[in-house]
């Protein structure tokens, strides 16, 4: 099996893994796990207050989405660029 065929199957599996919970747990809110941990801390220590606040907080959920998307875009841009450069060469391994 060629590399791109193997990889396409693996990527489809990842998409399936990511999409399955949305279908299986339709009632769930899918909040962040650290938010749940913070709630648990507040429950276990009555009157708990964090002793430090974030220096910069995104102004809204939309800005946070933008920053996370930007992080993913920059990272995937670099990864895909480097993989593109590498795959433009002759294969070092003819069998793969």
């Amino acid at each position: 099996m060629k590399v791109w065929q193997k990889n396409t199957i693996l990527i489809l599996l990842v998409i399936l893994l990511a999409a399955a919970p949305l279908w299986l747990c339709r009632e769930a809110e899918f909040g962040g796990a650290d938010g749940m941990a913070a709630e648990l801390v507040e429950e276990s220590v009555p009157g708990f207050e964090p002793w430090f606040e974030p220096i910069l907080e995104p102004a809204s959920g939309e800005i946070e989405s933008l920053l996370f998307a930007l992080q993913a875009a920059v990272g995937s841009g670099v990864v895909c660029f480097i993989l593109g450069r590498i795959t433009a060469r002759k294969p070092d391994n003819k069998d793969a």
Binding site: K2, V3, W4, N7, T8, L10, I11, L13, V14, I15, L17, A18, P21, L24, C25, E27, A28, E29, F30, G31, G32, A33, D34, M36, A37, A38, L40, V41, S44, V45, P50, W51, F52, E53, P54, I55, L56, E57, P58, E64, L67, F68, A69, Q71, A72, G75, S76, V78, V79, C80, L83, G84, R85, I86, T87, A88, P91, D92, N93, A96
Partner: protein
């Protein structure tokens, strides 16, 4: 032409996967101000020698293998991407992979500590995700324990003559999972009820660890075919 076509297809599939999976939600680091001062500064102190060793390791690798610079940059970018992917889990909450397994396999765990620190600093400063006060604890779990486990598992499976793809999958997946087991223990040591934190973090992370393992194998497959010389140079294969 045929090869170019398959490369374009692979790149398109990768970009599609990354685009589809990027969901906004807070994720899985210890939040700012949630560790008492002694613990926060204690974890920072624990991390310092690892970061120093990582700096030295990177300098040495880059000096000895100049061609590896590009792969090092890619490992950093890979961690950057994966830690931005907020994936839904079967527990009904969201979390993200760590992406540090690939760096640990290619460059060793201490070099990966530096890459993880950069990612965590970016998120703490710009995204209010994790935090400056909890940076030590988060670096310890994501950029020290995770990479060391990935590296150890990969070496063990390599010694046992497992196929590289299997070794990479197990290393990346277990490194990811152990990261969040460590986070649970860190919180449990301070506030008790480790079991509840394990339920929140480690159980949520199970399908994501599998996803990280698969994505790491995707990248490794390409490197194994097209950058075999570099992998041999780095003693990965």
């Amino acid at each position: 032409m045929k090869r170019l076509d398959s490369c374009v297809r692979l790149a398109a599939a990768l970009c599609m996967a990354l685009g589809v999976l990027t969901v906004s939600a807070s994720a899985m680091h210890i939040a700012e101000g949630y560790l008492p001062r002694p613990w926060a500064f204690g974890w920072m102190a624990v991390c310092v020698p690892f970061v120093a060793a990582g700096m030295r390791s990177i300098q040495k690798r880059v000096r000895d293998y100049p061609r590896a610079k590009v792969l090092l940059a890619m490992c950093g970018a890979f961690a950057f991407v994966l830690s931005a992917l907020k994936l839904p889990s079967a527990t009904g909450s969201c979390s993200h992979p760590t992406g540090v397994g690939l760096g640990a396999i290619l460059f060793g765990p201490t070099a990966t500590t530096v890459l993880g620190l950069i990612v965590l600093l970016f998120q703490a400063l710009l995204l209010a995700h994790g935090g400056i006060t909890t940076l030590g604890a988060n670096v310890f779990s994501m950029a020290i324990v995770g990479p060391f486990v990935s590296w150890g598992v990969y070496l063990l499976l390599k010694k046992l003559k497992a196929r590289p793809a299997v070794a990479v999958f197990c290393a990346a997946a277990l490194g990811d999972l152990v990261t969040y087991v460590t986070t649970s223990v860190q919180l449990g040591m301070v506030y008790g009820n480790i079991g509840e934190y394990l339920t929140i973090f480690a159980v949520t992370q199970l399908p994501l660890a599998v996803a990280e393992g698969l994505l790491t194998v995707v990248v490794f497959n390409v490197l194994e075919k097209y950058a075999r010389d570099e992998l041999l140079e780095l003693s990965v294969l």
